[in-house]
Symmetry: C2
Subunit: 194 residues, 2 copies
DNA sequence: CCAAATTTTCTAGCACTGCTAGTAGTGAGA
DNA sequence: TCTCACTACTAGCAGTGCTAGAAAATTTGG
């Protein structure tokens, strides 16, 4: 019994090790540098070990992305609950979202830019994913007026995502981030809400 | 003289052939299916010929993207100038942008999703790229009020881009596209403008 | 019209990728 | 101690982008 328990524990630890190594490598040199060989090297196991934990490279990226969702939720919540009013909450959440993308570009890529088969907005969506959306929705709620909250949240999220990704690819100069966010908020914030 | 002219012409034709083949293949099976071998096969030349035209695979993708910008400009312009008023123009441009992304997903990827070294918003930006932004800006202008037109256009563009890309990756259900666009427009359109 | 020079295109190969079949090694239970 | 099951390994496959050097084709000069 206990022996199997230890084995399970060790396996779980190694799985965590793989995820962490992948994330660090991606953050340091980009996802194209995360090869199964380099990853195996880094965790000091042979390549096939990776495949005993994950179905393939994509599954590893998905695991990293899930870690990211959990972290993002925390930061969004802190930004929202720490704000004095509804306008500040939306602004804070938007800024936190942008800051997260800046601080963890590779993580953000895995979460939102790559085509992974993560179920969004579905029954079997990972909990952290639903929680992240809920966090955004709570910040948007006071500004929804008569509009559908879910759809409005999606729209607001899309705007944030668009800003972040266009900046990442050099499509938009990064300097004006704050001013663009201000414009966006100006169009979404309902004065005297909440 | 004339011989060299013919050679130049033939080279240009083959270059166009490469771009078209890459685009078709990408649109049919996605960019990951566009390998130098398959591309060479398709144009009925050997692999190294590709490298006499383009620096590498990325350069081919960039060439495809440039084609896309020219087409997008045309569709945005048609949508804008065909609208009866300022609100209709913005709505039309937004719908045209979404429709373009739907109709040419691989093309859209090359233009906006991949990290290619295209100079956006710079001195040496390709003309079609500047023209595309201008087209958007003209549609946004009547709704800018006192806000900076360039920044507001960037923000609106980012929102469109966000919607389109999140839908592509399955992050947002596609059915509600129109309703999300309506919400976005509701926040950007200034009544009684232009 | 033919040989030399030049340009163009090809074959073959490099170092790498994700992934897997089959083998060697390790520890548990009888 | 012996057998068995499981784990992790080595080696290899088919594919990738890209390139060096040989072969073929074409233009030029005699």
């Amino acid at each position: 019994m206990s022996i199997q328990a230890r084995r399970r524990r060790e396996r779980a630890e190694r799985e965590k090790l793989i995820i962490t190594a992948a994330r660090e490598l991606a953050e340091a040199e980009g996802w194209e540098a995360v090869t199964t060989r380099r990853l195996a090297d880094r965790i000091e196991y042979s390549q096939p070990v990776l495949y005993s934990h994950f179905k393939g490279k994509d599954a590893i990226m998905t695991a990293v992305a899930l870690e990211g969702f959990a972290e993002l939720v925390g930061e969004l919540r802190a930004a929202r609950t720490g704000a004095p009013d509804a306008a500040g909450a939306l602004a804070g959440v938007a800024a936190a979202y942008g800051a997260f993308a800046d601080r963890h570009p590779a993580l953000y890529d895995a979460m939102f830019r790559r085509d992974l088969d993560l179920a969004f907005a579905a029954e079997d969506s990972p909990a952290a994913l639903k929680a992240g959306f809920e966090e955004l929705a709570e910040a948007v709620r006071p500004h929804a007026g008569g509009d559908d909250l879910g759809l409005l949240t999606e729209t607001f999220w899309a705007a944030l995502h668009g800003l972040v990704t266009l900046e990442r690819g050099g499509r938009l100069p990064r300097e004006a981030r704050e001013r663009r966010l201000a414009l966006l908020l100006g169009r979404f914030v309902r004065d005297g809400a909440g």
